[in-house]
Symmetry: C2
Subunit: 250 residues, 2 copies
DNA sequence: CGCTCGGTTGATGCACATCAAAGGCTGTGG
DNA sequence: CCACAGCCTTTGATGTGCATCAACCGAGCG
């Protein structure tokens, strides 16, 4: 799947939209979702599947379209979003490697994608047909348990954000960044997803300007540092106490 | 399960906290969740289960406690909430009859209830042990599909609310009320859950006073009417256009 | 009778939205 | 190779929706 021995990362020159690659069961089997399943069984569970590459901002699924496939994020990140009646973008969720996309709606008779899904930076996803989910995946209690685990943590994150509704803006931003670093245990203090201020704003339901005012202040205090959409947290304790509202930004 | 031939409804005199009743498979089998399953199979799926009654504001599950059981709401309603660091109540979700509570976390090894669960008015719930979920429920693809359907609509509602973050308060309130009437198809224009202004506020992350100002105005205009926590929508079209932000309250 | 709960109203202030303007960076097409 | 468009970021001036604080009322209840 990867050329020579180079590490394929964000810096790779973007391929054209939606370039398909052959299945690499070697890598796919390593995802926690498939732990304990034989190579042969994984092949069955992915039968008819395809690995697709997207460049930055490419559209994977479109809201309202019939949902014939679901996805497993292999590399990079995807955002789930909707356009509000007022024409603004509302980001509902960020998906990292290992996350499933649209799996929850596969059991429906005539499923419709409930969100738009866009790549954030160059990303790869494994797409599998809906019939396979219904015929193979639903029969595997272990697999279902893990999917419910993913959905559970997704719901927990949505709920955690709902709890922050009353909190001041700086708490919301701190909370979002900490949530994102927490979901990727080995990411250290670096947010594992390339994030613009606009995307933070759209995720929190506030304006870009407000996000910028808060984060510029944090950069001046050396609590965080941003380089090319990658945010690194330099002072976790401060951010934690900001998230919990124990500290005022004064 | 019910005394004589009387209909047991909200108006019933509340029983003491957590009174247990014998299983009534007759009624339980009628829930959509169990459609297509034989009485005997339903009995297996509910084995060791118990029907529990709660009076208004009684606590069913407590955040942070080990989760040994999950629930199916039979009658009445329950709210899922958390206390914020600032000591305020944040309502995350309203459960009506047919909803499952804490099913999602049953596959975990050592599950912990992720929210507080309180009864809203006199309510009944069917409680089933975690082992039954793991041993029996997970083996039933049809059951899993339906549970994923419930979770799916729950996630859709959370996401719909997240989309309303930027909207003005009157839109949020209209949207919440319409969401609640929509989930109970035969409820007509009456919100199927007894709701105080405080609960609306806690659900939306705003203050009681603000909710009251909006809703008092609506009552003056005869768009809604409230009697003893039961809200009836008199002018659905107006509320819909308010929810979509097509109309200003002026 | 005091208590709690739910609802209501008004005065004041602030956190964030809005509007405006500008500069850097990247990809793209002439 | 340059011009241009789109995206991302930044800063400042001004406005406003909702929070906050305070007080009050009526109903139900032990």
């Amino acid at each position: 799947m990867m050329a020579k021995s180079r590490t394929v990362g964000e810096e790779d020159s973007p391929l054209p939209y939606s370039k398909k690659m052959p299945l690499d069961l070697e890598k796919i089997s390593k995802f926690p979702l498939f732990q304990g399943y034989s190579r042969a069984r994984v092949e069955e569970l992915c039968s008819g599947g395809e690995v697709v590459h997207h460049s930055h901002r490419a559209l994977l699924f479109e809201f309202g379209q019939p949902a014939s496939k679901f996805g497993l994020v292999l590399q990079g990140a995807y955002k789930l979003s909707r356009i509000t009646p007022a024409g603004e973008d509302s980001i509902l969720y960020f998906c990292s490697p290992g996350d499933v996309i649209a799996a929850l709606i596969m059991p429906q008779e005539k499923p419709i994608y409930p969100v738009n899904v866009h790549a954030m930076g160059p990303s790869w996803v494994l797409l599998i047909r809906r019939e396979i989910y219904q015929q193979e995946w639903l029969k595997e209690p272990a697999l279902i348990s893990r999917i419910q685990g993913l959905l559970s943590s997704r719901m927990m994150r949505l709920q955690a954000q709902k709890m922050m509704q009353r909190a001041p803006l700086f708490s919301k931003i701190a909370s979002l960044l900490l949530q994102l670093v927490a979901q990727e245990p080995d990411s250290g203090v670096e947010v594992p997803i390339p994030l613009t201020r606009k995307e933070i704003a759209d995720s929190l339901g506030v304006t870009v300007e407000s996000v910028i005012r808060v984060m510029s202040d944090w950069e001046k205090r050396h609590w965080v540092i941003t380089s090319d959409r990658h945010i690194r947290i330099l002072n976790v304790e401060h951010l934690v106490s900001l998230a919990e509202g124990l500290e005022t930004p004064g």
